[in-house]
Point group: D2
Chain length 408, copies 4
């Protein structure tokens, strides 16, 4: 083993033990062949008191030490001796400076002129744009970059607030358990209802992301009950969920399957296109409701209750409905504003939109992903949305029991 002369003293504070932060820090150093010495470790007693560690981290070279510090940065570790962030201008529209700092989905602060400043817009995979006049910092997606904007580069002068698992026993304990279909389901329905009530009671917003399976399984009526009871602030979806919901309202079928008998009806495969054609003829979903063309269903309920919705286009869309935003970057922007102020997000049977929205959510948003396919739930976590509560179940029966539990 080479001598490791270079070192930096760092510190971290929080529920270091029970949130696995301390082991993550230590492992992070060791995996990169670094070493450390614990200078002080204060372990908080009981639930109220956080722990604090100060440690000296050793590396073989300046680069090696930087790499180590960058890795443990996401666990809330900050140097004892602080520096300001470095800034560089964007070389062109839509291009970050080469060594840009890429955000996590954790609350982030930067050190500007010796002061910690909050970065507005918590979301992973953004750059941090700094307005040197107002001394403000904002997370910006690459497509919004303008030439000459100043962006944070490198790793100095940055601090993220690690998402902590509260030490106290909560009613959402299962949040951290592994994904499985073999869990007590009635309890889980109660716990999700409790999340929705709490967010609603606090006046925070709940995003529902919905895929077409909620229509095919007959669950859209139950989601409509939850909308009417006021638990949904906005619905995100694609052309399919709206089209098939309208197909049920106009023809009684979803993807050509009769919703009463569960069997395909002759000519039913054309119903979704005929439904789209009727709405296009009316002008929009809202117009179709106003003109009495559309008189039932989830989309009808959204219009009637004034609940907003964002429908994003996809390459597999027929039509699409006039309300669909066919440019995906525009659609992201329409969703992003909601994501930044959300209190909870419930994702229902749509891998595509769940990953899309997961990309835009701060880690602090309580996120529930319901899918009958375990891979859909696993993928969200793999892509960085670690806060997701995965529930492997049948969305059709789940929404029925959830609406019952909420007393809708």
């Amino acid at each position: 083993m080479l001598e490791q002369h270079l070192h930096e003293d760092v510190t971290a504070r929080g529920h270091l033990i029970d949130s696995n932060i301390l082991s993550n820090i230590m492992n992070g150093i060791v995996e990169l062949d670094g070493t450390f010495e614990v200078l002080s470790l204060d372990i908080g007693r009981g639930n109220e008191n956080p722990s604090t560690i100060t440690m000296r981290v050793f590396g073989r070279s300046r680069e090696h030490l930087s790499e180590i510090l960058r890795t443990i940065h996401e666990f809330g570790v900050v140097p004892v001796h602080l520096e300001d962030v470095c800034l560089q201008p964007a070389p062109a529209d839509g291009v970050f400076p080469e060594d840009f700092y890429s955000t996590t989905n954790l609350e982030t602060y930067i050190r500007l002129a010796g002061q910690w400043r909050h970065v507005e817009g918590t979301e992973m995979d953004l750059g941090v744009r700094v307005d040197e006049v107002t001394q403000t910092a904002t997370g910006v997606p690459i497509s919004d970059v303008r030439k000459g904007d100043m962006f944070v580069v490198g790793q100095t002068g940055l601090r993220v607030v690690t998402q902590e698992r509260a030490r106290e026993k909560t009613e959402f304990e299962f949040m951290n358990s592994t994904v499985s279909s073999e869990k007590p389901k009635a309890q889980i329905v109660k716990q999700i209802a409790s999340i929705l009530r709490e967010v609603h009671g606090d006046g925070r917003k709940t995003i529902v992301v919905a895929g077409p399976a909620i229509v095919h399984t007959g669950a859209s009526a139950h989601l409509a009950r939850i909308v009417r009871a006021g638990y949904v602030s906005v619905l995100f979806g694609g052309n399919a969920v709206a089209t098939h919901d309208i197909e049920v309202a106009l023809y009684g079928t979803s993807l050509g399957i009769d919703m009463q008998s569960g069997v395909a009806v002759p000519g039913g495969n054309e119903h979704h296109l005929r439904a789209i054609n009727r709405i296009r003829a009316a002008g929009s979903i809202g117009d179709a409701v106003d003109r009495g063309v559309l008189t039932s269903g989830l989309m009808y309920t959204l219009v009637k209750t004034g609940t907003p919705y964002v429908l994003a286009g996809s390459i597999r869309d027929d039509g699409p409905l006039p309300d669909v935003i066919t440019d995906v970057i525009e659609a992201q922007q329409a969703m992003r504003a909601w994501c930044r102020e959300a209190g909870a997000c419930i994702m229902l049977s749509t891998m595509l939109h769940s990953i899309a929205v997961g990309n835009m959510l701060p880690a602090s948003v309580t996120t529930v992903c319901v899918d009958i396919n375990p891979a859909a739930v696993t993928k969200l976590g793999d892509r960085g949305s670690m806060q997701t509560i995965g529930i492997v179940t049948d969305v059709g029966l789940f929404l029925q029991l959830l609406a019952d539990e909420l007393g809708c």
Copy 2:
């Protein structure tokens, strides 16, 4: 194309068109490079009247023609000119004569001394043993063969009654649709409830085959409600479903997961073995109920209501419980008797036992397979249990809604 001089005239009768029997017969001939000529085709008008076809089938050789006739035999085709079955003695215990006739799961008749005789015990993959004194015929599994028993060989003198799809619209129309999780679920729950009520009302028996997921998901309490209401004639399962049900009763956990909170409890992974140990100490599940050791749960409910159960051993069993039949051939025999007189069979989240029971059921038994894994449902059909209604859903929520629907 070679000349095909050899021919045999055959006939079939039934709902030939709408049950796809006619196309299966024609395809069967054509796929084997045979040809045919339709001698007469009477298509029944409306629901009440069956159709009848008589056709001449041509082959290149005696062997070719035999192969064709053997293939179309399972669609109920019989020769116009009838012959008796051929019989040969079993060469040893546990061994069929080489060219033995292997049964389907369809009702079967053999022609003995010019008379059609019903074969007792409809089940696939059996031999047909004939008692020449009493002129009776019985389906026999290979392990029950005794040296010198007379068995049907070849294909002559055999007739099976093809399972027909009734032409009339039934409430179970979805029976023939493809397996998918994306079907209207509340309707399906109603239809299964209706099947259970009908079989119960007719005084026929319902087998429930249950896997441990019904315990892990908290659904065993709902199945217990259905047992108490008298809808279950017998329960088939393995060591796991009974062990985890008893684990819940004794420790409040299933596979170490607390059923109230959904999280693992310290030391919980030992609970299933401690539960087994307690039952072994008591002598049996029934003894444990009698002595007040076991006072709740599904197994308790079975004992208290006098509902029989068959628990079959598997290579992955811990313990096992004293009630488990560890020899799998003995366990099959215990199940076989029930299968032969069943009116319906409900399979709940157990691929192993579902396929096992599917192997033993006549095609005439209404069979419902519920699993969150589509492959479990698909495999049943692939292995010949074509009559299976596959439902891809969460057994935990499904049983709760089914018990509610049945008013248990």
Copy 3:
């Protein structure tokens, strides 16, 4: 049963028996409570000769009879007494006339002034626009409709050419078998290689639709070999497959996983965004190749061999790369031109793009869908792409063996 006085005489010709066409016709009538009488049935002997049936179809009313005829239309049934198509003008831009004829993915002819005219552009869910001056007909997606364009309405004057299964034993026999992971795999690799060679030899075009899993599994290098050998006419994909391929080229990781060791590297989750930033800085993928920024990988190989690609945006894209078409309707148009002249289409591990492209392909295009998830393959068939050969396997190993088999 009501009297069914009204009738229409219809005829169909082709491999009616072995392609299941006859049973589909008969079932279609019977399921709708219609009846029929076979006027003549000529069954072709051997492989070369088609069969012809003429039958009288009875209905209760004009509407009932129309519904029956519309249902059996897709099996190639045409009335004996022919009429011209009916036309109506589009009421507005982007809106079909209410009773528009919605296309199937089968080759279609319309009867105009007593002459059968071919409809250009075979694709499901289009309208048929007729130019009455030139007497030509074209399939048109709803978004391309212009007010006043004349479209076919109703069902008269239409004929589709049913996709037939050849009676002769082909090397692609498994095409019609059920989807399963449990099939002999080496044989399947050989058969797919044979399809690619045949299409290539005939000078027809092969579309490859690729998802990011081909990069994550290390298969993109093998696909690049197949590209270099000339078997790929165009590649369809999204932002992800191109981004992660470039991430491998620039950083040696895919979604942050090191391609040599298979483990996550520190900071690796930022690599894809840094890769996108470098390509945006260069201008486009092609520019990055020209400037020596991108020197290996699948996208590099496409650029160097002059193989075109179409990258369609999706709501979950980071970036995106400059080459991505962010408007999904524009992206569909870019793909549509290729679909209409394709000889084969190979879909690799992307449910989203596979369904999208499946929607645009004529049923006559040999379509192969490879995915480790059986649901991806099943969904294609459910949505009308019945011609799809589904292969449930690991795309990573599959492409390696396919490239070997092709001798690339």
Copy 4:
């Protein structure tokens, strides 16, 4: 918070940081509402040096403190002040004393008369039987208990050796990564080949556990190559894998599917039973090889190379083959002996047998589970076989490439 007066001083030694042992200990205490004080922490520098911690653990009561110590016991924690184990006699045959110590799959020592003694037979869910005369200890399954045998009860006097992840970078790094089908596959094949070579080179034994999918996918020929090259010490399976392998040898089909064309052959569904009948007629698989009845395939290769196999019965077996052990407890015993001396275990596409064997393997055995179904791999870990390397891939292609890589 209540006062926690009672305490016990404990110590642990090993790679505490990078194997997550320290965080597991700390979390274990905190989750049970205990507290601790670190008395000393020596962190080893570099790869060679282990770390040592001594800590004081506080609890509210004697029972609370015991529960905490029992929970952290599995991480190798032992009290500073040592006591001997407690013993109690078994109350009846097949029944442990009530408070029996239930083993983990880690190497275990007990303290007898002040001396640490190794427990023979490492396996989870056993009791520890002590021979007080010879001062030896053995792991015993519940079914082998004899009345009056002395068993360890409670938690005192026990020590387990925690499985450590070596700090040095190994070539099997991916061992600890999450299960996913989206991993670089060629690398994984190389790494598994390397494991097989290493175990073989060391003279240790490799168990292969095989399901019937290896036959259906055509991979049994490749597994036979690996057997011939000497890499397989014993094969575990069920009736199905052997039956279908013999079906291929005798009839060219597997479950009735032709292995050349991949399509079902007429009458093919009877082949497996005819294959079983032939082997029963011959006496056994070995007899069938000797008599020239069986001349190719995996089972033939096992017989010819003298490689032993254990075939365990299951409730879904047809036949079974004469070599199948139909009593599952007997079958476990036959497998158990091999498990205790294994160096590696490769599980191929059989959830049932993989979990069964996983239950019997010490955690120190390198275990690889290959399945196309992610749930099969996940379940192994959930049931305590944490050491399992999960590979989600197509076993058919995997074995072909593995045999190539091994140069068989």
